[in-house]
């Protein structure tokens, strides 16, 4: 029997809908101009907050693209949290209404759990290399930096996390210091390719255990740039690539140090990265280098599954469905929702 799940993600900026059949992603759409054009509308100015305007067109498009009729759905899944209450509410309410009208179950999913489960997102006719359990995953995005041990599809344990800024935020804020508009992380990645990663040294966080801290590093970067600009007003312009490469190198090393430590402590060698920052080239290179050095088996989901997307919500919901987990109609979004 097929298990076909419609999934909705609306925890932060983007509205996304996906169709997942037996854990295989048939369609995975993030609301954008194209979705709206097909639906006969335009993207509103306030795209980032306009889940309300996005949710119907994006769900409609996801169903069409997958070639699935609503009455063939087994369940409706949604992101329950963590996230912005107002944003989550749109997805939760839509999912509730749809599930109720179709007489099918609802499945609430934790957004962070889903980021880890992105590693199991398969596509039709495409073989994905999936991790074995236990699996150690570094989740890095604009808003999250966590080390997670997955002992099964539904058994997640956070063993380390940031105590101040997320890694992605460190990238974005250092970019801002260089005059690159938010979110400038991807620009840092690009500029770094032309720069020397050892041109500048910054104060590394001194924090024990498996937690992360990037606030001091950001400040150290800021002060260095300020001091140098006082001596030479063209400093940023002249050394942008070196500054980018150096801060990127430092952030990546901090992440890798903790990942190594976590692998050592847990003895786990099935290791992956997830979240938006896993697109960063230096991080990927560093992970591959460690894999060779320590004999790790490494996993990186495809880019679409590292951003905030409904495909990963649907994949997670599939495993919850198989385990018999259902969410009642009385459910509410949870802005605060530890994994």
């Amino acid at each position: 029997m097929h298990v076909t799940i419609l999934a909705i993600e609306s925890s932060c900026d983007d509205t996304s809908a996906a169709l997942v059949r037996n854990g295989i992603v048939l369609s995975n759409l993030i609301a954008n101009q194209k979705v709206h054009r097909n639906y006969g509308g335009v993207v509103p100015e306030l795209a980032s907050r306009a889940h309300q305007q996005h949710v119907v067109p994006v769900v409609d498009q996801a169903l069409k693209e997958a070639g699935v009729e609503k009455n063939r759905l087994s369940a409706v899944a949604f992101t329950q949290g963590p996230g912005l209450l107002g944003s989550l509410l749109v997805g939760v309410s839509f999912a509730k209404g749809l599930a109720l009208s179709l007489g099918i179950p609802l499945i609430g999913v934790n957004h962070l759990h889903a980021h880890i489960m992105a590693h199991w997102a398969g596509e039709p006719g495409k073989k994905v290399k999936t991790p074995g359990f236990p699996f150690l995953c570094l989740l890095v995005s604009g808003g999250h930096t966590q080390l997670v041990v997955a002992r099964g599809f539904l058994e997640m344990e956070v063993i380390g996390q940031t105590i101040d800024d997320a890694a992605g935020e460190a990238f974005d804020k250092c970019a801002k210091v260089l005059g690159i508009p938010y979110p400038g992380g991807p620009v840092i990645d690009r500029l770094s390719r032309e720069g020397d990663p050892h041109a500048f040294a910054f104060a590394r966080p001194r924090i024990g255990g498996l937690d992360f801290s990037f606030s001091g590093l950001k400040t150290s970067f800021l002060y260095l740039v300020h001091d140098e600009v006082e001596k030479n007003p063209r400093f940023i312009e002249e050394r942008k690539a070196d500054l980018s490469a150096s801060i990127q190198h430092t952030i990546v090393e901090v992440l890798m140090d903790k990942l190594e430590k976590a692998s050592e402590q847990t003895g786990i060698r099935e290791i992956g990265i997830a979240g938006g920052v896993s697109a960063n080239q230096a991080l990927r290179d560093a992970l591959e280098e460690r894999a060779k050095r320590y004999g790790w088996n490494i996993y990186i989901p495809e880019f679409i599954y590292t951003t905030d997307n409904a495909g990963m919500i649907g994949v997670t919901a599939y495993y919850k469905y198989l385990a018999g987990e259902r969410t009642g109609q009385e459910t509410v979004p949870l802005a605060r929702f530890p994994m």
């Binding site: 932060c12 100015e45 306030l46 980032s48 907050r49 306009a50 963590p82 996230g83 912005l84 209450l85 107002g86 995005s141 604009g142 808003g143 996390q161 940031t162 105590i163 101040d164 800024d165 997320a166 992605g168 935020e169 974005d172 804020k173 801002k176 210091v177 938010y182 979110p183 606030s215 950001k218 400040t219 800021l222 002060y223 802005a335 605060r336």
Partner: protein, 156 residues
Amino acid sequence: MTPAMKNSAEAKHWTACISSPEEWKEFSRRLLHFAGNHRVIAFSGPMGSGKTTLIKEICRQLEVADVVASPTFAIIYEYRSRNSETVYHMDFFRIKSLEEVYALGYEDYLYSGSWCFIEWPEPVKHLLPPESVWVEISVDDTDLRRVRVSREKDTG
């Protein structure tokens, strides 16, 4: 303590100098006392001036058990204090327009009666309830912070 500090609950504004991170603890106590029943506190100051660090310390005093981290990406974090009170930690760094603030449903937070600690509050400065507390941090040099606390922003 100077006489002005003794009466900080009644004073309209006061200033403090912070020369080491440990001093945020004493500062936080005074700030909570000054705020009294007015639970919206805005924290302005340049990047790296210590806004998140200060809010972490305030949350420690309120016995928040959650990890207090920067909400720049998430915009709003929600915590619980030990006696189950809600604490909102907000950050408008990446907000570009007032319309985005409206779309967030800001009044649900700012008029909830719960503690609201706001970083990068500039986009919402005209939306804060009257008697909100403003904490303005300036960086004198690497290790010295000058902090001005008032009931109104930018007044003498």
